[in-house]
Amino acid sequence: MWDYTDKVLELFYDPKNQGVIEATGEPGVKVATGEVGSIACGDALRLHLKVEVATDKILDARFQTFGCTSAIASSSALTEMVKGLTLDEALKVSNKDIANYLGGLPEAKMHCSVMGQEALEAAIYNYRGIPLVAHDDDDEGVLICSCFGITDTKIRRVVKENNLTTAEQVTNYVKAGGGCGSCLTKIDDIIKDVEQEVATVSKNSNNGTKTTEILNSGQIATATRPLTNVQKIALIQKVLDEEVRPVLIADGGDVELYDIEGNTVKVILKGACDSCPSSTATLKIAIESRLRDRISKEIVVEAV
């Protein structure tokens, strides 16, 4: 029997916010859904968010979970935690936060909290119209664990975010290595790699504790750690919404973020911009330069 905290048991025996949110067509409100996991893997979560469009606020959250005690408790905790947050705030909820809310999870069950975080991301990206496959660079990368279909990108991310140091921990967090075990040495190599990377980064910076931070004004603080993909997408969306779109809309046009691949940002131009012969220039000047300025010099913008 696993050693669960009282909070885990409470939310398992009496889950909060279980079920579906049906789209009711209420004005100004949209429902977003995020799905992760599969029946083959033994756990799966479908998260429903009701969002107030004007404010980006999560008005309600509900879940449907296939899985064990801690999967159900993690899902329920997640819904409690994100209610009332804006989408940007919600994106900052990490698997650690979910585990902490529950008073901790057994190490071997940490993957349940990771699943919660991933479903949340999936729901928010769905809402923002970024196709799942595109945002999820976890699925790119090299396949490391074929038993659970886990790539090096995903392992790297979870190792970094949770300061994992052993392959066993990686198994507990994302399941990789929990099947036939033949990928365990590869996981060890990735851990070593990340450790080295982190060591160099902190050596090169005079203040290793500084992290990327989005300031209220939408400006970016000096970063010593590269942006995660999640942060990057959120940031691009924010800059587009706050600084680019108002200008274009004023000119009878608009832009929508379509996809992000590495440093290439794909956008759909709308309205006047779409048919405008000088749209390339518009892109370069109005969008690309702004994103380069705000996020990274490497960004290239493409219209699709």
Partner: protein, 399 residues
């Protein structure tokens, strides 16, 4: 709240009569049975009586019983002994659904130059005898196959297998940890060369077991030291455990017929009622050749650990083939080998009865189980798969 214990394939309660029999050997009779004084001689006698009791349960001769510490030791000792006795042969046959005490030894032997054939099973967990036949060669040292599966209760046709094994001159070991006390056994008329049993599955304490070794089978011991057990297993005997095992064996033999009939009746009632009351569930295992005390039911769309925890709240102990209970992340190797669809695989629960199980206990399970399943299905995204999520996934476990 009193406990309803339906996890008897994991372990059993020690029979009060067994405890009573053991007590003097934990208190006043503490001598070493190997000692030359009369005090030691009294213990040696007690060990002899226990050996006779165990032999009687197996239909074996007293001299064919070696006391061990557990089923795992019996399995390990038998496999090693068989290989050491025939160093020229390098092939082993076993099945994909064995207990880890056999499977993991075989896996290790593979790294030491042995080749191992792991026979597959069909969706009822049953073996294909043609596959066995085709795998046997002159190089096969040992065939090690369980009598009955611990998870599904499926019983293998041991004597039919044995005939084929004997034709090819290999040794035949049977892990009968789950079968002893539930199936009448007679080693005198059997083709089995070695057979493992364990005390704690038949109402004796943990930490005691026995290995049957047919007279004439060349045996090389796993534990080497003193001359105990006629040189087949060194180490001072666990006398209280041995006495307890002897008493438990005597009681099993005494109750075998009536107890198994009762367990079968209760098991069938439990199984049929649950199947009738709860939609979307099915029995895993061979419907005909199955242990009378075991039922393994797959409840679709939900996960085993969650079911167990809700059962636990009602004081009901059962077991699941789900990965989440085991510390491993892969679901039961037995259910996977049977190729169960994923919809059932993760939600399989094993109820295993014993001679103490009552009608009232079965009634209680029948009462709470439908509500537990319904409750978890209400949470499950796969139950009413309106969005077709389930359909988008591969649902058959092709392992």
């Amino acid at each position: 709240m009193s406990v309803i214990y339906l996890d008897n394939n994991a372990t059993t309660k020690v029979d009060p009569q067994v405890i009573e029999a053991m007590m003097p050997y934990l208190t006043e009779y503490y001598a070493n049975p190997s000692s030359m004084h009369t005090f030691g001689g009294q213990l040696a006698k007690a060990v002899k009586t226990a050996r006779e009791q165990v032999a009687a349960l197996l239909g074996a001769d007293e001299s064919e019983i070696v006391f061990t510490s557990c089923g795992t030791e019996g399995d390990n000792a038998a496999i090693r002994a068989a290989l050491l006795a025939q160093p020229e042969k390098r092939h082993i046959i076993t099945t994909q659904v064995e207990h880890p005490a056999v499977l993991n030894v075989c896996k290790q032997l593979e790294t030491q130059g042995y080749s191992v054939t792991y026979l597959s099973v069909n969706s009822q967990g049953q073996l294909d005898l043609d596959e066995l036949e085709a795998s046997l060669t002159g190089n096969t040292a040992l065939v090690s196959i369980m009598y009955a599966n611990n998870e599904t209760g499926t019983i293998f046709p041991i004597e039919q297998i044995g005939l084929r094994v004997k034709e090819r001159g290999a040794l035949f070991h049977v892990d009968a940890v789950q079968a002893v006390g539930k199936i009448p056994l007679n080693m005198k008329t059997s083709t089995v060369d070695m057979l493992t049993m364990s005390g704690h599955k038949i109402h004796a304490p943990k930490g005691i077991g026995a290995l049957y070794v047919r007279r004439g089978v060349r045996f090389r011991p796993l534990l080497i030291g003193g001359h105990q057990e006629r040189g087949r297993r060194a180490g001072t005997e666990n006398v209280p455990g041995i006495v307890g095992l002897g008493k438990a064996a005597e009681l099993e033999l005494l109750h075998l017929e009536e107890a198994t009939a009762r367990e079968r009746r209760l098991r069938d009632r439990l199984e049929q009622t649950l199947l009738a009351k709860i939609p979307d569930c099915e029995v895993n295992g061979d419907p005909k050749n199955r242990l009378p005390n075991t039922t393994n039911i797959g409840f679709k769309y939900i996960e085993g650990e969650a079911i167990l925890l809700l059962l636990n709240k009602h004081g009901i102990c059962a077991s699941s083939g789900s990965a989440c209970t085991s510390g491993s992340l892969e679901p039961s190797h037995v259910l996977r080998a049977m190729g169960l669809p994923y919809t059932t695989l993760h939600g399989s629960i094993r109820f295993s009865l014993c001679r103490y199980t009552t009608d009232a206990e079965i009634d209680r399970v029948i009462e709470v189980m439908p509500e537990i399943v319904e409750r978890l299905r209400a949470l499950s995204p796969f139950k009413n798969d309106d969005a077709g999520w389930l359909q988008s996934q591969s649902l058959v476990n092709s392992h």
